[in-house]
């Protein structure tokens, strides 16, 4: 195994350890099985929080060395440990309850789990030999990471010459941290970091939804999300699209579970993932606006929850302000076309074809199988229930509606974005990935109550929507 591969594995192990400390602080770790279940969440929390801090460190004009990365991990972990001690959070002392293998549901779940693991092993092998990156990757995403690695900071001289100079820097920062742990700018092996992000995302999905969804249904959709063709095809191309999609979907999953269960630690996870979504790509802010708008609409009958929701969202947004100050104070090319408002009025004829493009891309079977239609059907049926089930359905449908309109707005306001569905002429084929992954992530949560409430009245069912065995 090369130094590069070992470096990526070591870094992700460190992120996981940092995330475990964070989880211990905010929720406690009950049993060893609970700890294993939370590994995906720990990885993603560690990755998002440490990389976010690293971006702020770089924006502050400081050099990012390997030692600084270790210090940043400690900066995340130390207050979490202090909180855990103060709040007397539990640490694992027993193994916990293993699932009964005699149950047919458990056996089916185990089959889907085994297939998902096998597919992830296959994806890992593809990452180990990955040889292709896209134009955006070699034009600016990876050169920014190389600059951070080689020159130690945000090299203004180089950034000024690159396309997308003002694009958020979470991915280049994460790549640069990988280079530090690899011991060199081992670009082909960056694909392994993308593999860890996807594995962490889907493991987090399983852990976050497990108290709400029966295991066989959950693992069916984890496997389904893993094999989405355009996800697999684009995963290793070195762009920030999947990075922003992954953090956006995790924000939505934390939020959905918080709406369902109201555990305070979920808001911490939501805030960390939201901050990473802002820092990953320009579209991140658009997706966050859609998600928060969807949450506000979904909880209109329970406005007490708006305050914590909006407070965490604003705190997450605040972390993106230093980057805006950095690039705008240096007069770098802005992240929106200067005349986009005028373009809206002069391009009214693009509205209808823009909708057609977005819908075609969202529902193309060869790209995304049936993720969006299935989740839409389940959500529409879920609206006929009351309480929390309806809230989750409304959250999904409102976020999707706002998201479709947001993507339409991109096509409408930028005449340079072509009205076809080709990857090289439009960002929309990549951008719809967020909404598709959101669909695959929330689908089991939307379907679960439909299967559970056959013989119950609407009112009774909604109040009993809790963890299935």
């Amino acid at each position: 195994m090369s130094r590069g591969v070992l470096g990526v594995i070591a870094l992700n192990g460190l992120f996981t350890l940092t995330g475990l400390f964070l989880l211990w602080g905010i929720r406690g770790l009950r049993t060893w099985i609970d700890l294993v279940e939370q590994l995906g969440i720990a990885l993603m929390l560690g990755t998002a929080s440490v990389t976010m801090l690293a971006t702020l460190w770089l924006i502050g004009g400081e050099h990012l060395s390997l030692w600084i990365v270790l210090v940043l991990c400690a900066v995340v972990a130390a207050p979490a440990v202090e909180l855990a001690v103060l709040r007397r959070r539990s640490l694992p002392r027993s193994l916990g309850r293993l699932p009964r293998l005699s149950s047919p549901g458990t056996l089916v779940a185990a089959s889907f789990f085994a297939l998902a693991v096998a597919f992830f092993v296959a994806l890992y092998l593809v990452a180990r030999v990955n040889s292709f990156i896209t134009e955006d990757s070699f034009v600016f995403w990876i050169p920014k990471a190389q600059a951070i690695y080689y020159f130690g900071d945000l090299d203004e001289r180089l950034f000024r010459t690159l396309h997308g100079a003002s694009y958020p820097i979470l991915l280049p920062t994460l790549d640069a941290i990988d280079f530090r742990f690899m011991g060199s700018a081992d670009i082909p092996n960056l694909a392994l970091q993308s593999w860890f992000l996807l594995a962490g995302c889907l493991a987090s999905m399983a852990a976050l939804l497990r108290p709400l969804v029966r295991p066989w249904l959950l693992w069916l959709f984890v496997l389904f999300a893993a094999v989405l063709p355009n996800l697999d095809y684009r995963l290793y191309l070195g762009e920030a699209d999947w990075t922003v999609d992954i953090f956006f979907v995790l924000s939505a999953l934390f939020l959905a579970r918080w709406l369902a269960m109201r555990e305070p630690w979920l808001l911490v996870g939501y805030g960390v993932m939201l901050a990473a979504t802002f820092a990953a790509k320009r579209e991140g802010a658009l997706f966050v606006a859609c998600l928060v708008g969807g949450a506000v609409l979904a909880t209109v009958g329970s406005r007490r929850r708006w305050l914590p929701l909006l407070a965490v969202t604003l705190a997450a947004y605040a972390t993106s302000i230093p980057w805006h100050i950095w690039w705008s104070s240096r007069h770098l090319q802005p992240d929106l076309p200067g005349n986009w408002r005028e373009e809206l009025t002069s391009n009214l004829s693009r509205i209808k074809p823009a909708y057609v493009v977005v819908f075609r891309l969202l529902f193309t079977y060869d790209f995304w199988l049936v993720a969006a239609p299935i989740a839409c059907v389940a959500a529409l049926l879920g609206l006929t229930l009351a309480g929390r089930v309806r809230e989750i359905a409304a959250l999904y449908l409102a976020t999707m509606t706002l998201g479709v309109n947001g993507l339409m707005w991109i096509v409408w306001s930028e005449p340079t974005v072509s009205l076809d569905t080709h990857n090289s002429t439009s960002p929309i084929p990549r951008a719809v990935g967020s909404l598709v992954l959101l669909s695959a992530g929330l689908a089991p949560l939307l379907i679960e109550p439909l299967l559970s409430h056959r013989r119950r009245t609407d009112h009774a069912t909604s109040s009993q929507h809790s963890a299935p065995s």
Partner: protein, 161 residues
């Protein structure tokens, strides 16, 4: 009537939920073999490449020759400065050397990416020049050519004034 209607709606919901699950299960059953085949072919197509060939493969897909990229990595020292010298015109590139226009667009970006931490600068400030089917006549007395191939590519070190 109301309980009957509720039972009916609950039945529709249940049927809808089952239909969603069955649809996803059928799609998975049909797709999973193809997805595993895709991973196998992606692995087989790339596993023969050395680390350097993995790095330069994207450049190859833009018709930037393998030997030119390898020579650039070999002869342009890290943290030096270089300039890319393109062909005299798109027509010359296309008719004389069979270089497509897209290659000329991507070439400087690719070489900057490939050779970082060396910096791409204008020719007045460069220590090295990467000639890509360029006209070498103006450079005869200013450059010591350290690598050349038969396809019109060369790498030279600018002589001290």
């Amino acid at each position: 009537m109301r309980p009957l209607r509720q039972v009916h709606v609950a039945g529709v919901r249940f049927a809808g939920g089952v239909l969603c699950v069955v649809t996803v299960a059928v799609v998975l059953a049909l797709q999973l073999p193809h997805r595993f085949e895709w991973t196998k072919s992606a692995y087989d197509d790339n596993s023969w490449r050395s680390p350097v060939r993995r790095l330069i493969h994207t450049g190859e897909t833009y018709d930037i020759p393998t030997d030119f990229q390898e020579a650039a990595l070999t002869y342009v020292p890290p943290r030096s400065t270089f300039a890319v010298l393109p062909p005299p015109s798109v027509e010359v590139a296309q008719k004389g050397y069979g270089i497509p226009p897209l290659t000329l667009i991507e070439l400087p970006f690719w070489m900057q990416f490939l050779l970082l931490p060396s910096r791409m600068v204008d020719t007045a400030h460069a220590q090295y020049v990467l000639c890509f089917a360029c006209n070498t006549d103006p450079w005869v007395n200013r450059v010591s050519w350290i690598w050349k191939n038969d396809a019109g590519e060369a790498i030279g070190k600018l002589n001290s004034p």
